[in-house]
């Protein structure tokens, strides 16, 4: 069975479950509120079922190999780590606020994970600090998120 086929099947399955949930929730709404969502949901479910069947058949196909006969390479560790670190950004922003999270995240990404030179590793966070400061001072009525942690820690 092919890896790519499996992941496609899983993705389609996830979408199918999500739409099924919404169709189920639609049934609890009033007639007017549910009419269009139910209609659209039902049609989408039929389409997703057809796609699910296609993906199941594709997943049963033998794994595709390249010219040398070797299986497709796994994701390099460095890229995987950088990707995971990118996904941590919203959590960091929520906890620490934009002013601290953006430059800190950038610094760790550049210096820690990409082994970038010190110049760039510090310069780019400074640019991000400039961006945050710029928004803060030029648009005071547009407050950036301050961070959830600080009010807890302040007296």
């Amino acid at each position: 069975m092919s890896c790519r086929g499996h992941s496609s099947l899983a993705f389609t399955g996830m979408l199918w479950l999500g739409v099924l949930l919404l169709v189920g929730l639609s049934l609890r709404l009033g007639h007017v509120a549910r009419f269009v969502p139910l209609l659209v949901g039902a049609i989408t479910l039929v389409l997703l079922t057809a796609q699910l069947v296609r993906d199941m058949l594709a997943a049963r196909a033998p794994a595709r190999r390249d010219a040398s006969g070797a299986p497709p390479p796994a994701l390099p560790g460095g890229r995987a780590r950088r990707f995971l670190w990118v996904l941590c950004l919203p959590v960091l922003v929520f906890l620490l606020g934009f002013a601290l999270a953006l430059p800190l995240h950038a610094f760790v990404y550049l210096r820690g994970l990409s082994h970038e030179r010190w110049g760039r590793a510090l310069g780019i966070p400074l640019v991000l600090i400039g961006l945050v400061v710029g928004i803060r001072f030029l648009l005071p009525a547009v407050p950036l998120w301050q961070g959830w942690l600080w009010p807890l820690l302040s007296p």
Binding site: S7, S8, F11, T12, L15, G18, V19, L22, L25, S26, L29, G30, V32, A33, V36, P37, V40, G41, I43, T44, L47, L48, A50, Q51, R54, L75, P76, R79, R82, F83, V86, L87, L89, P90, V93, F94, F98, L102, H105, A106, Y109, L110, S114, E116, R120, I124, P125, V127, L128, L131, V132, I135, L139, A141, V142, P143, L144, W145
Partner: protein, 504 residues
């Protein structure tokens, strides 16, 4: 009437281009351009911030300064859309679809130049139509009601069938999911919460800007990180970039018919209060794909028409959005709502009174808008070459900057931290869709057009039931319906003709 209009137009022109009056639109343009590069900060934000400082200003000064704030931000938002896949605001999302692939191919200059030209010419078109319609403003507005809005939405949604033709099942399913996502929030008639899971945050639905930023910008950033691509354009030296400003400019004239049609679309949609630039740009994009013989071959992969169409429509709508303001004192968009607020605070009531008693002042606004759109586009053309070089900057340097821009933009649109989470969730969804061959454009088209479709479907049905309207006697609605059917059937008719010719 015509003589009066022309005289007022001349007076307005003299006022705008006189010294030092011209400093106001220039200052407004520079301000709007600078901030529009930041996703999430639009002309609306700037007008809202400028409002308190206009208390001491004369109405003339307000018109000179606010016109640019209404119009200038649009093209500037396209710059980040083309270079980095990050739309400056929701209306720029359609430009991303073909603009970014052009940048990836090393043709960012072409895309930027085309966008600049289409913006300037599109806004000129919209303004010209506005001026020509001045004697007929009121009658024009009243031609459009729920049936017309419904048919417009249906026409826009029909483009999904064209966009999804390469993988029809996936495309239509993606559109269905986009429609379902648009239904999250409160039912517009009964105020019944739908799919909100008891959350106050979801009562207003999911932020479309957060979804756009996620499904395009963040998904691409994730992809850049995972694939280890060296630069956006896959070139490391600026000399290897193949784009050309001249080619970009020429493309508008090469596809002049498409440009005109999309400008008309943008102007008409702009006239309809509450619809907005996002719908205009996506409907125009959809029309561009419908008017092409083999859209799957090129659209979504860097077809210049995919940049031209939304840009022309998006800027043409600015002129159109002034029509309801001037005719009835009703805001055509959020930015014109603020303009009305600013004028009202000075005792100037937009509407028939303004049109009859202070027509030159109206033309000050129109000419200021015209000037600012051209200034923005000329500035864009001037910096197209240096900006295009950003596509050879190493990705590992760009990623933190792009993440900063995108996350700030996702938050700034509504000021809600949860929008950041939404953007990242849709970023992952967008990445998965890209990896598994699910088209994202039908999803977005459906998301944008769903509210217009559902609300007006129910309104049309109800009003027809009560005998207040008869859809079949409304020429615009019927015309749009026939256009939709024609667009859907045309590819099959063409294919049948080709088979017959081949057989014969």
């Amino acid at each position: 009437m015509l003589a009066e209009v022309l005289q007022a137009a001349g007076e307005g022109l003299t006022l705008v281009f006189g010294w030092p009056n011209i400093l106001y639109p220039v200052a407004g343009t520079l301000l709007a351009m600078t901030f529009a590069l930041m996703p999430g900060i639009s002309g609306i934000t700037l007008i809202a911030l400028a409002l308190p400082f206009t208390f001491a200003w004369e109405p003339l000064e307000i018109m000179l300064f606010f016109g640019p704030l209404i119009g200038s931000g649009t093209f500037a938002g396209s710059i980040t859309a083309i270079l980095f896949n990050i739309p400056g605001s929701a209306p720029n999302a359609a430009t991303v679809i073909d603009g970014y692939p052009l940048a990836q191919r090393g043709e960012a200059k072409t895309a930027l130049a085309c966008a600049a030209a289409a913006s300037a010419l599109g806004s000129t078109f919209g303004i010209l139509i506005l001026i020509l319609l001045i004697p007929l403003l009121r009658a024009t507005i009243l031609l459009f009601g729920a049936p017309e809005f419904l048919m417009l939405a249906v026409w826009g949604l029909s483009t999904i069938a064209v966009l999804a033709r390469g993988s029809l099942v996936k495309g239509l399913a993606a559109a269905g999911i986009g429609l379902l996502l648009a239904f999250v929030g409160t039912d517009p008639r009964s105020a019944e919460p739908r799919f909100t899971f008891g959350s106050l945050y979801l009562r207003d639905g999911v932020s479309t800007t957060a979804v756009f930023l996620g499904i395009f910008a963040l998904a691409e950033i994730f992809d850049l990180v995972l694939t280890g691509r060296t630069t956006i354009s896959d070139r490391v030296h600026p000399d290897r970039l193949t784009g050309s400003v001249r080619r970009g400019l020429a493309s508008v004239f090469r596809h002049f018919g498409l440009f005109l049609r999309c400008s008309v679309l943008g102007t008409v949609i702009g006239m309809i209060p509450g619809i907005g630039g996002t719908v205009a740009s996506f409907v125009a994009y959809g029309h561009a794909t419908q008017s092409c013989r083999d859209p799957q071959a090129t659209f979504g992969r860097g077809d210049i028409r995919g940049v031209l169409a939304p840009e022309a429509a998006n800027d043409a709508k600015d002129g159109g959005s002034l029509v309801p303001v001037l005719a009835l004192g009703i805001p055509g968009s959020a930015s014109t709502a603020l303009l009305i607020a600013a004028l009202t605070l000075h005792g100037i009531v937009p509407g028939q009174a303004l049109m009859t008693e202070q027509l030159p002042l109206v033309f000050v606004l129109i000419w200021a808008l015209f000037l600012s759109n051209w200034l923005t586009s000329l500035a864009g053309l001037a910096v197209a070459q240096p900006l295009a070089r950003l596509t050879v900057v190493p990705v590992r340097v760009l990623v933190p900057l792009l993440l900063g821009l995108t996350t700030a933009g996702a938050f700034l649109t509504r000021g809600r931290i949860a929008d950041l989470g939404v953007a990242f969730v849709f970023g992952l969804l967008g990445l998965a869709m890209k990896r598994h061959g699910w088209p994202r454009v039908p999803f977005l088209v459906a998301l944008v057009l769903a509210p217009l479709f559902e609300v007006n479907l129910h309104l049309t049905w109800r009003l027809q039931q009560l005998g207040r309207i008869n859809v079949w006697t409304r020429p615009i609605a019927v015309g749009l319906l026939l256009l939709t059917l024609g667009s859907l059937l045309l590819p099959w008719v063409q294919a049948w003709h080709r088979r017959r010719r081949g057989a014969g």
